[in-house]
């Protein structure tokens, strides 16, 4: 079991592998500390702004797992809590943190055999939970 969790609240977080019959973590995931670059300062440095965002990726997933993720998105109206990898590297590993986030509808390519490839879920407006 991996470190990626999802839930309707902090108290009800559960491993996302519980939704995917393949039992795979969304790895590799991307974590970005800001939402977008809004300009440059007078030194020419980019100005990053907004709440963090991240993307969960599965190279392949069966249709049942994809449907379960989609149902979860629908059930929670796109507002979920997740535990996901951050870019903080400590003790020879990336750390994980819990956020409240806006979940986007899962996306993927259908492939023969009732499977999906390149499945991704984007999370935005991630509010760090203490």
């Amino acid at each position: 079991m991996g470190n990626y969790y999802i839930g309707a609240s902090v108290a009800t977080l559960f491993p996302v592998t519980g939704l995917t019959s393949d039992g795979a973590d969304p790895h590799p995931s991307q974590f970005v500390e800001y939402a977008e670059v809004v300009g440059t300062d007078l030194n020419g440095a980019p100005i990053e702004a907004g709440l963090p965002r991240c993307t969960w990726n599965w190279s392949e997933m069966d249709a049942a797992g994809f449907d379960a993720l989609t149902d979860y998105f629908t059930t929670n109206a796109g507002i979920v809590y997740i535990q996901t990898r951050t870019n903080v590297y400590a003790s020879d590993a990336y750390t994980f943190a819990t956020y409240k986030a806006r979940m986007a509808r899962p996306r993927g390519e259908t492939v023969p055999g009732k499977r999906y490839s390149g499945v991704t879920i984007e999370f935005t407006m991630m509010e760090l939970q203490s």
Binding site: V38, G39, D41, I47, A49, L51, L128
Partner: protein
Amino acid sequence: MSAISADNLTRLRTTIHATKLGLVVYAPATIWSAQVNGTQTTGARAIAVDGVVNTRTPGKHFKALFGSTAGARDLGEARFISYSAPTLNVSAHNTVLADNTYITVKEEIAPQSIHVAIDDNDVVSEDGNEAYGSNYNTQYIPLARCGTHAVAYLDSVTGLATVNFYQRSTAIANGASISSHLWTWRGGTVVTGSTTTAGTSGSPNVVTWNTAGDYYCSYTATDSNGKTHTRYFVVFVRARDAANVYTALEVGGIEGNDNSYRATLNVKTDAGASAFPARALCVLFAEDWFGAEKISIGNSNDVHRENIVMVGYIRRGTTKFDWAKSSVEFEIESVSGAMDNMWGLAGGLETADAPTGWHQLAGLTYNLFAHHVLTRHSTISQITDCYLNLPTYTTEYLDLQDASIAEQLRNVIAAVRGRMGCSARGALYLEANPQLLPLDERASTYTIQTTSSDLRDEVDFGDEGQEQQISQIDFAGENADADPVFALAPGVPWVGGRSEKIDGVRVTDQSEANEIAGLFEGYRNNAFADVVISWRGNYRALDVYPAEPIAVNVLAAQNKRGIAWTNQRCWVKRVAYDYKPGILLVQTTVEKDSFGSTGITGDYPVEPPADPIYNPPPIDPITPFEPPITEYPGGDETGLFRSHVYVATDRGLFYTANFTGVGGAMPTWTRVETGLPTNVIALMTADPYAPSDNQYVVTSEHYAYSPERYNRIYRRQSGGSWTKICDCADLITLLGLSASGDARIEAICTDVSTPGYLAAVLNHWVAGGGQTFYFAYSTDYGATWAKHSATPIGSNYNGRVGGFAHGLFRGASSYATGNVVYLFSFSGGGGTNKLWVSTNRGATWTERTTFATANSGTCILQLDASQDVLYCYSASGIKRSDNLGVTWTPIAAAVSDLSNQGQSASGYQIMPLYDPSVLPRAQTIRAVGYSHNVWMTTNGGAMWTEYPTSGVPWGSGGNWAELGILTLGDAGNKMYGLGRGGTNIDKVQVSEDGGITWEAKAGADITDSTTNGIPGSAWVAGILPIYA
């Protein structure tokens, strides 16, 4: 103000900013209800009620609704005043309350004006019935201040919402101090401090709530005189993600300037429009992150409310519900914006050592004026913190215009270089424009000294105009005695730019006038008045109010214009927030700190201004545009002088039937006074539809309430005898005025749209009081008279009527809408000249413009009523208004000779060309100057020429002139002139070349009292040429 702290600067400059906005809307609870017991008369303030349900005792000014069902307001609303069984006292309203009408009191004070009441004896009561007490206007109530509303979430762990409070009240009365405090935190539990603890920003009272809700709380400050003042505020406690916290927001820009803040919000919700009622209190708040740290950085003037972004009220009529998108869009505006829609009654305040009424204030200052308006004439001081930081000049009189509360305040405080507006969080500030303060009086602590990390993208320095917009400030201030103090800055005008007049600014002495003139010059010529700075993120600590400088640092290499600023002091003049979920970007428009060199003493008149001498303005009896004259004789008199001419003077009323133009025979004049009790004629006019059949005069303008003084209106029909149709006593009775007062009929006018219409203005005053003008009218040639109400047009200290005319609506293409009526009065004794406008034929009036004082400012208003164009002459030149006097545009700077005229007593005109087909309107304007000559411009006032250049038809010398010149309606060059010079030479003159040359039409020298009938030394009351 303190600078942004070092820790916060680090956060602002080095972290990723994120912001999530939320909106809460106050839904006031019903705390008291009852039903009317027995039908109550219209407007009853004491209402018998039964069935009272008192959940919480309302405070004074809480909103009271009248409805046909429980909780409804379909029958109107008022303010709760008090309740003592079985009587409910409320504020004025105009609602008939039937038996069992429902009354619902909401736990809310809305931003409203509070009107005074004036009884038949001119005794003023505040709030309708609050009589003046012995020390109200000496021991002024304090101003309670406790910060803005609060929004807090219930903590997911503790279940508590925690809010900090501290007061920042101030005593107003001389020598007083704040002595005690009393908080009510309904539903809250005090963790630190107590309900009587003042609290400080560093050691606040800490209060927690454990249940979501809207808690209407209060704070009362008591001063050392025992006077109290109470502020109300809302604590919004919310469960996170609750339905009544709107976080799905689109913000169409939040913008603030030196007047107010405004925002357009689009809320994604199924709540519907009813959740966003008009005038509802809204608080926009933020959750902010600076990197991983969740913290808000706000303005240091509102510590512990850093999460509050904007406080406002929903603008009436802006709420729109989109069913398809489940969204509601509306606009909110800050309380200073709401004040623009709160109407205040006209009045005046004066200083008095021992006040005996509400209108007298001990040690009257501009701050006390504002305090009086905010605390007595509105609810504003109870719903937001008010800061009165105006310059501390004393003054003898200040006028309350018939205008919005905001206008009343802004118009007055402009005299002390003041401005009024709100901070984003809603606190109201009245303070001097910092750019118009001497350098050593300007705030010097920078909110922020920028670095390259603070700013986003290139600084926009704006478009610089010519090097100097203003060549010279021609400053006419007023000292404590209301005497003019003139200054010029710079002493030698700049080569470029135009001269600008600055009138009516209060100064202490000549030295200060010179300094302030320099400040205006520097401010007007500020080349960097609109510099747009985009900040890297959430810099909402920056605000327009209070005025706090920032220091801007920019390298030449960092902008395409190569401008380098090092710690350049700038002032924030506008703020704009750009929000999308998660990101709040702040942009400010700043102006570079400006200052000008101290000016020099200005030009004072060689001769002191003459005391005001009233002479009725020349009557304007002919409507010079397509006049509805029904008696056109068939002969072509167009382009000719009319053959039938009346001349009214204080020595008689004269008529000729053989008036001719230049080169024609000398007319024969005869007296036409049969039936008049006196030959002293004050005014003359005629019905425009039948001018030879219906003529009117007012006899004897002098203090004429006593019948023997003959102040009456007479009508003459078809050349017969004059018949009295009205006198002062008639109008006093009609208008319900005190017979013990003095009065005179000061003006009459007809209406080009209504045959038989005649209006009159009665000037009525009582001993020790000011002049008050009343309007009466007749629609049957004066046979019977009517009033709209006894409500006066307005008052003017020592005022006399200087102009009265019916106009049209602008743009009207026919005569059918002659609903606009103008009244202009000038004041002879330290008051101000005023213009009132009615757009409903005199039913109601608006005091539209207050001009400078009589002896240093405007003395003339010319009404081009046919076009609804107004002209006035003031010490700052000739101005024109195309919008019924709302705004005035200078069309000519002062001409020296005309400038003198502006300080003379009476008898001068600015005469626009009436016929727009000949020249574009107002390109040709004539003015009569101090030296009795005619000044004319043919290019809208840019250049003036004096005619005649030699020889003066009315006589030369003397120190004043009374002239009446009437331009005919053809080519505009046919003019009649009536003159009176300092050597007592009176003439009837004509000109056919626009006033360049003149020819006498009543004798070569009218000092010969027998020649052609018109005696010498006559005061000119009017000239009336008509088709006979």
